[in-house]
Amino acid sequence: MELNTEEQAILRGEQGVAAQEALAYQVKVGEFFEAQRFVPITNAHMMGDIEVLGDSGLNYLKCMAEKRGHCRVPATTNARCFDFDYVDYLGQDRGEAQKEKKVIQFLRDMNVMTTDTCINYQTLYQPHLGEHVAWGDTGTVIYANSVFGARTNFESGPAALAAAITGRTPEYGFHLDVHRRGNFVVEMQTEIHDLAEWGALGKLVGEPNQYYFAVPVFTGIEPRPTADQLKHLGAALASYGSMGMFHMVGVTPEAPSVDAALGGNRPSKTMTITRADIDRVFKQYSLGDGSGNLVVFSGPQLSLFELKTLSELFAGKKVAKGTQVFVTTSNGVKSAAAKLGYLAPLEAAGVTLLEGVCFYILQNLSPMRVANGWSNLVSNSAKIVNIIGAHKFNTILRRTQDCVEIAISGRLK
């Protein structure tokens, strides 16, 4: 890689050991991808929770903090694995919770804003067309690239932290025009509405095209999608397909037309999506042992709009005896929802609202599943029904209204 004067100085240690190590690490990653140079970034968003860090990651953060690692661009954190008000309620490990508090402290010592949200793009920062950022999780990346036209790769925890400390990232992947062009077309022949249907679309397109650089171009989308719908589509494409970008003609900024979105690429194929395709997704889930005792609204965290909708659907109702319902969101959204009166109906119905977490990364989730006798997990999130498999849940995707009805009746449908 070609390094400018400042980067050479960082590598010589003139801006401290932490920056030196961070840049050396970034150079190795950049060289793998044959990056020619670094590009400056304006914002970083990183995953760092004890469940995935483990003791080795915790120790790494401690060392970086002791080496006076300091983020030079605004850096925020993704959802973590504890809501500290619910540690005992969920039967989580108090020792690990203490470690999570240390994680938070070390990150703050390095000038990281511990916002603990995976919907930073809805609640914290909206980069503009062409702006380079360094974001993870995958849902944040695909939203930044596709909907904002900003530029980022999947940046894992150590990579996003390194980028925040050095203020730059290697120029490869979606920072380059060549990878942002669409390479296959998805023709929508049906309208879709519910968030779960948008996730189902992401599954249908992502699953058979698993490739980071597969960039679908959606056409025929009517009516215009909302931010939450695009969020569920993106999260599912990234989850099932490992994709980091999509175009939607007439909707996303780099897709005024199919030709513009393809940028000269010949599409490798054209998929069509019909009503029958969408409905088939919902029919394919096994009902397992038939239990309907766990309904989850999470992955990604809910926006204020989603929370308002749920609040209205649960108003005056009660979650069935023996069934548990979890909703996750950010501190900002929860605070606003409380002020606006959206929380009270959820609480009255018996819904548990967790803050700053995502359900699938909760610490101790596998033992929690066993202790609560959960076997089926019902959700309107196509992402979560895909990714929670390692915890041995039988997952079932259902539309939002159906999820609420299952929660109230305790019976699958």
């Binding site: 690490y25 190795k28 993870g136 999947f154 940046e155 894992s156 990579a159 980071y212 990714i387 498999g389």
Partner: protein, 141 residues
């Protein structure tokens, strides 16, 4: 040194030379979706390698799935002594690369020929990132 029984050319590679038993998957991989990160067992129901352990293996996966988590998870499983010796991907994503570089695990992307034509689970193979090759040294059984 004896002649390798087969040689696979790699497109990109990082890490040190490693030698060990191959674990060949027809399905992609994600450390957060598919793996029990306390035992190293692939636990996702229905995964083609369900029930297999990745420790000290040279793991061949056609694709990488989802997941920012690999960035920390690879270093974590290495510290827990349940990590594979190498990840060999047909196609991968940046997170896998960032995670492997961070953890000091050998990782490669792109292959010719496809390992399904010349490597079986249990074969003894050597990965040489600098030369961008994988050599099959012994056949299973």
């Amino acid at each position: 040194m004896t002649e390798p029984l087969a040689t696979i050319k790699l497109t990109r590679a990082t890490g040190s030379v490693v030698e060990g038993e191959a674990l060949v998957s027809a399905e992609g991989f994600s450390p957060r979706y598919d793996l029990d990160r306390w035992t190293g067992e692939i636990t996702k129901p229905g995964h083609r390698l369900q029930g297999q352990y990745i420790k000290d293996k040279i793991c061949f996966f056609p694709t990488a799935k989802g997941g920012i988590a690999a960035g920390w998870a690879f270093a974590d499983i290495k510290a827990k002594n349940i990590a594979p010796l190498a990840f060999i991907f047909g196609v991968t994503n940046p997170v896998m690369v960032q995670g492997a570089v961070f953890a000091g695990i050998t990782l490669t992307e792109g292959w010719d020929p496809d390992p399904v034509t010349c490597v079986s689970t249990g074969d003894w193979v050597r990965v040489d990132p600098a030369r961008k090759v994988i050599e099959v040294l012994r056949r299973v059984g």
